[in-house]
C-alpha cells in the first residue's frame, strides 16, 4: 500500500526568483529559510513521487479548453524557463498518474488528463527550492484557477480526499508527498495589481493550520473573490487540506511572512506530517 508521508504548501510568486531585489534583505532571508526548511522536511520524508495540486498561467490552457482538474500523465513534464528558473525536464510517473485517473473514474469523479503538461513557475518555482535536483517524479494536477467559471472549493477539497483514497488503495507501496502551490491573496495584471487582503490571508492561514477544512470547503466564488484573481489559487491548498485530513496528517506553519510589496504577496508556507 502506498502512503501519503507528508505534505507541503507554499506560495509560488514568480518575483521571488524573477526580481528578488524588490523585497528587503530581511524578507528575502526569511523566505530562503522557509524554503530551506521545506527542502529538509521533504528530504526527510523520502518521497517516491510528488503529487502537486497546482496552477498554470495560460501555459497549457486558454479559455477554449479549461478543465476543472487535469492530471499530467506524461513520463516527463517539460518546464518553462521563465523568471530565471531552470529549463528542466521534470520526471513524471505515468503509471501512478494514469492509475489516479482510472481510480477517479471508478468513483464518478471525471478528471481530465494530459500526456504533456508544461510546468510553469506555478510548479517549477517550489520544485527549484524543494527538490532542486529534480530527482523525484512529479504528477501535476492542474486546477483551473484562471478561467471562470472555476471548480468550487468543495470540489477541490473532494479532489484532495480522492487523491488520499487513491494513495491508500494503491498497491505500489510508494511514499507520496503532496505539494500545493499558489495564493494566497493577490491581484495579477489588473488595475488592483499589487493589492493584498491581509485579513483574508490571516484567516486562511489560521484555517489551514487548524487541520480542518470545514470552513475552507464552504467558500463560494464570491468569498474567494475578496482575495483577488490570484486568490483563486487557494483551491490548490484546499485540495491538500482535504488530502491531509483524510490521511491523518497534522499541519504546522513553516513561514508566515506578511506582505512583501515588491513580490505582490504574503509568503506563507505550511507542512503536514
Amino acid at each position: 500500500m502506498s502512503t501519503i508521508v507528508a505534505a507541503v504548501a507554499t506560495v509560488h510568486a514568480p518575483l521571488i526568483v524573477g526580481m528578488p531585489h524588490l523585497a528587503s534583505e530581511e524578507k528575502r532571508a526569511a523566505v530562503d529559510r522557509g524554503f530551506a526548511e521545506l527542502r529538509s522536511f521533504v528530504a526527510a520524508a523520502r518521497p517516491d513521487v510528488i503529487v502537486s495540486t497546482t496552477s498554470e498561467h495560460i501555459t497549457n490552457f486558454l479559455s477554449t479548453n479549461a478543465p476543472a482538474f487535469c492530471v499530467g500523465t506524461g513520463g516527463v513534464n517539460p518546464s518553462l524557463p521563465e523568471f530565471g528558473l531552470p529549463d528542466v525536464q521534470v520526471p513524471g510517473d505515468a503509471e501512478f498518474a494514469r492509475g489516479l485517473v482510472e481510480f477517479a473514474y471508478d468513483r464518478g469523479f471525471d478528471l481530465a488528463h494530459s500526456s504533456r503538461l508544461v510546468l510553469d513557475h506555478g510548479t517549477n518555482l517550489p520544485l527549484s527550492y524543494i527538490t532542486p535536483e529534480y530527482n523525484v517524479p512529479v504528477v501535476p494536477v492542474m486546477i483551473n484557477t484562471i478561467w471562470a467559471p472555476m471548480p468550487t472549493a468543495e470540489r477541490s477539497y473532494q479532489l484532495g480526499e480522492l487523491i488520499a483514497d487513491y494513495v491508500a488503495a494503491d498497491k505500489a507501496d510508494k511514499r507520496v508527498l503532496l505539494m500545493g502551490t499558489g495564493g494566497i491573496s493577490h491581484w495579477v495584471g489588473s488595475q488592483r495589481h499589487g493589492d493584498l487582503n491581509q485579513e483574508f490571508d490571516m484567516w486562511f492561514l489560521k484555517e489551514v493550520a487548524s487541520g480542518s477544512g470545514d470552513n475552507l470547503r464552504k467558500l463560494s466564488q464570491a468569498d474567494i473573490d475578496v482575495a483577488g484573481d490570484g486568490g483563486n489559487e487557494i483551491r490548490n491548498w484546499i485540495a491538500v487540506v482535504g488530502a491531509a485530513a483524510s490521511a491523518g496528517l497534522t499541519p504546522h506553519v513553516v513561514l508566515d511572512e506578511t506582505f512583501v510589496p515588491g513580490w505582490n504577496v504574503s509568503v506563507y508556507q505550511v507542512a503536514w506530517q
Binding site: 508544461v118 484562471i146 495584471g189 488595475q191 495589481h193
Partner: protein, 99 residues
C-alpha cells in the same frame, strides 16, 4: 471568438518559444494575419496599447504577459491600464531603489 484570438496570439508570443516573437518583431502584420482579429484588436496589439486590450476584455494576466513580451516596465503597464497613481509610484520606487 475574437478576444480568445488575442489571447491565443499573446500565448504564441509569450509561451511558445522564440520563433513566433521573432516573426512578430520582423513582420507584425504577417504574424497577426494568422489570427481572427478585429481592426481594433490588431491596432492595439501593434501599438502595444495595453489599456485598450484591457478595456476590450482580454484576460488581465494575458495583458500583463504581453507587456512582459515587450519588456515594458511594470509601472508603465500599470499606468496604461489605469492603475492607481499611488500604486504606479510605489512600483517605480521599488524598481528604482529595491525593497
Amino acid at each position: 471568438m475574437s478576444i480568445v484570438d488575442v489571447e491565443r496570439c499573446i500565448w504564441e508570443l509569450h509561451r511558445n518559444g522564440p520563433e513566433p516573437l521573432a516573426e512578430f518583431q520582423r513582420e507584425p502584420n504577417t504574424f497577426l494575419s494568422h489570427f481572427e482579429l478585429t481592426e481594433e484588436e490588431r491596432h492595439a496589439l501593434v501599438g502595444r496599447d495595453y489599456g485598450e486590450l484591457y478595456r476590450l476584455g482580454v484576460h488581465p494576466m494575458a495583458c500583463l504577459f504581453y507587456s512582459q513580451v515587450n519588456k515594458t516596465p511594470m509601472p508603465a503597464y500599470l499606468s496604461a491600464i489605469g492603475g492607481a497613481t499611488a500604486r504606479v509610484k510605489e512600483r517605480e520606487d521599488l524598481e528604482l531603489h529595491g525593497g
